[in-house]
C-alpha cells in the first residue's frame, strides 16, 4: 500500500474534500460522489497499528490525503513537544500526504493538552514565537505547511495588529501557506462585530492553498450580542456559502473541505454538502 501512496501528488486538487470519519469508510470506497480528496486529523493516526492505520493506507492509495494537525500548539508559550514533532514527521514521512496543515492557536500548557484551539493576542512577541515554531515544524517534516485562521470568541486588550496582518507577516517570514477557514471568518467576524467580507478582502489570498467550511451554532453573550460557536456539528450556514463565493471570486478555484466532526451524519448528507461545494466551485472554474 505504501507504493500506492507514493502516487499522491504534492498538492490537493481544486475540488471538494471531506474530513474523513471511519464510519464512512465503506461508503467512500463504494461511491465517493463528488469527493475527490480526504482530510484526516494527524493525532488519530499515531497509534502503533490497528484498523485506523490500515484504513488510512488503503484510502491513501485512492485519494489525495490532507493531514491536518490539531495538537501541536504552535502558538504555545513553551517549546514545541519534540516527541510530537517526531510523530508528525513520521506520519508525513510514510504517508507522503498532498498537504499538511495546523492551526494558529495553542492547546498545550506545561505538558497538559487541553484539546481546544485556544486564542492568541496578536502582538510582536506572539508573531516571533509562532514564526519560530513554524520554522521548526517545517524543518521537522521537510515540507511547507499551511496555517489556519482560528474561530475566536473574545478579544485581547494587548493585541497590536489585525489577524490578517498577523497571518500575512507569518506567511512572509516563514514561507508557509495559509488555510482559509471561511466559517471561522464568519464566526469570528460576527463575534468581534466586524465585516467578514472586509476580512476576506484584506486576507493574503495569494498564500491560500486550501479552504475549510463547517457548521456553527448560534448563541448570545452576556450583553445579548450574537455569539457564534464553531461546532462542526451541522450543515454549513447560508451566509457562509455566500462568503465562500466572495472568497472564490478573489482566489479562483481551490480545494474546499467540508468539516463535520460532531453528530456526524450518514454519508449521503456529507456527500451532499460536498456536492454543494462543487457547484460553488463550478461557478468560478470557468
Amino acid at each position: 500500500m505504501r507504493d500506492d501512496a507514493n502516487h499522491t501528488p504534492e498538492s490537493l486538487p481544486p475540488g471538494p474534500g471531506v474530513g474523513y470519519k471511519p464510519q464512512h469508510y465503506s461508503d467512500i470506497l463504494a461511491d465517493p460522489g463528488p469527493v475527490c480528496w480526504l482530510e484526516i486529523h494527524a493525532e488519530n493516526y499515531m497509534g502503533d497499528g490497528g484498523r485506523p492505520l490500515a484504513q488510512l493506507r488503503h484510502l491513501a492509495g485512492r485519494f489525495p490525503i490532507s493531514v491536518h494537525g490539531v495538537g501541536l500548539s504552535i502558538g504555545g508559550e513553551g517549546r514545541l513537544d519534540p516527541e510530537h514533532l517526531s510523530r508528525l514527521a513520521h506520519l508525513v514521512g510514510w504517508l507522503r500526504p498532498a498537504s499538511f496543515s495546523e492551526h494558529l492557536a495553542w492547546s498545550t500548557h506545561e505538558g497538559a493538552f487541553l484539546n481546544d484551539l485556544l486564542p492568541l493576542p496578536y502582538t510582536q512577541a506572539t508573531l516571533a514565537r509562532v514564526c519560530d515554531h513554524i520554522d521548526e515544524l517545517q524543518e521537522a517534516i521537510g515540507r511547507r505547511m499551511l496555517l489556519e485562521n482560528p474561530s475566536t470568541y473574545l478579544a485581547f486588550a494587548e493585541s497590536e495588529m489585525s489577524e490578517t496582518d498577523f497571518l500575512r507577516e507569518v506567511a512572509r517570514r516563514t514561507g508557509c501557506g495559509l488555510l482559509l477557514d471561511v466559517n471561522n471568518v464568519f464566526v469570528s467576524a460576527t463575534n468581534q462585530q466586524t465585516d467578514p467580507r472586509a476580512y476576506i478582502d484584506d486576507f493574503p489570498i495569494g498564500a491560500v492553498s486550501e479552504i475549510h467550511l463547517g457548521g456553527h451554532d448560534e448563541d448570545g453573550d452576556d450583553e445579548g450580542a450574537p455569539l457564534l460557536i464553531d461546532s462542526h456539528g451541522r450543515e454549513i450556514a447560508d451566509p457562509v456559502w455566500a462568503l465562500l463565493d466572495h472568497t472564490l471570486a478573489r482566489s479562483g478555484p481551490l480545494p474546499v473541505l467540508i468539516e463535520w466532526d460532531n453528530d456526524v451524519p450518514e454519508w449521503p448528507v456529507l456527500a451532499g454538502e460536498a456536492a454543494r461545494a462543487a457547484r460553488h466551485l463550478e461557478k468560478v472554474a470557468a
Binding site: 493525532e43 488519530n44 499515531m46 497509534g47 502503533d48 497499528g49 490497528g50 484498523r51 485506523p52 492505520l53 490500515a54 490539531v70 495538537g71 501541536l72 500548539s73 504555545g76 508559550e77 513537544d81 516527541e83 510530537h84 510523530r87 495553542w106 492547546s107 498545550t108 500548557h109 506545561e110 505538558g111 497538559a112 493538552f113 487541553l114 484539546n115 481546544d116 485556544l118 486564542p119 493576542p121 502582538t123 510582536q124 512577541a125 470568541y153 473574545l154 478579544a155 485581547f156 486588550a157 494587548e158 497590536e160 463575534n191 468581534q192 462585530q193 466586524t194 448563541d219 448570545g220 453573550d221 452576556d222 450583553e223 450580542a225 455569539l227 460557536i229
Partner: protein, 256 residues
Amino acid sequence: MSGGISQAAFTKALLDPDRPAPASLTSPSGAPAGKRFDVYRNNVAVSLTEALGVAFPVVRKLVGDEFFTAMAGVFLRAHPPKSPILMLYGDQMPAFLEGFAPVRHLGYLPDVARLELMLREACHATDTRPIAPDALAAIPPEDLLSVRFSLAPAVRLLRSQWPVFSIWLANSEEGAPMPEMRAEDVLITRPGFDPAPQCLPAGSAAFIEALMAGASLGEALEKAEGDAAGFDLADTLALLLEGGAITSILTRDSET
C-alpha cells in the same frame, strides 16, 4: 513586549469554573469576556468528557450518564491529557476510581476501567502476523516443554477478584447473563482488528502470565498447575492460537 495574560493564567482560569475570566479578555465593546470565555471552558470540558465516555462506555453505563459527566469533570481537571493523542487518554482512570470516594461502594469499577483501557490498547497495538495454528505440531515432542513464545503486542491479561468479564459483557451485549460473584481472569487477543476479550478457565491466567514474562512452556505449565487443579494445556494453547496471540516459537535452536 506588551503586558496581558499569560497562558499559565489562561489555563488556570480555563480549568476552574469558579474563577472569573481573566480581566484583559473582553467582548468587542470592551466588556469582560464572561460567557465568551466560557465557550473555551466548555470546549475543553465537553470534548474531554466525551473522549472519556467513548473510552469507558461500561464505566459510564454502570454509574449513569449524569454521574459520569460530573466524575469526568473532576478527573479531567486532576489528570488532563499528557499528549494530544487522545486514543489512549484515561490511563490514570483505574487509579483515580480507586481513590474516588463517591464510587468506593463499587469495588469492581477500577477493574472494569482497566479492562476497557486494555481493550483500547489492544485496538491500537502494532499489527503482527500470527504463527500457523498447526505450527506447534512441527516441534519434536521432546523439545516441546523448552519452547518459548513471542506474543502479539495486542495481547493483554487482567486478573481480577471481581467478575469483571461478566460485568463488562452484561453491560456490552444485549441478553448477556447477569454476573455471579466470583473472581475472573480475562485474556484479550486481537485476531484481525477487533479485540476479543474472553474469560479464562482455572490456571490459564497463571500460564499466560508466565509466557508473557518469557517463561518456557514447561515453566509456564508448572506455574499453571501450581495455581489451579485441572489446568487444561491444550485448551489454553488453542485459545492463544485461535486469537492469533502467538507470533513466533523460539526453540533452543532458533534462539540467538
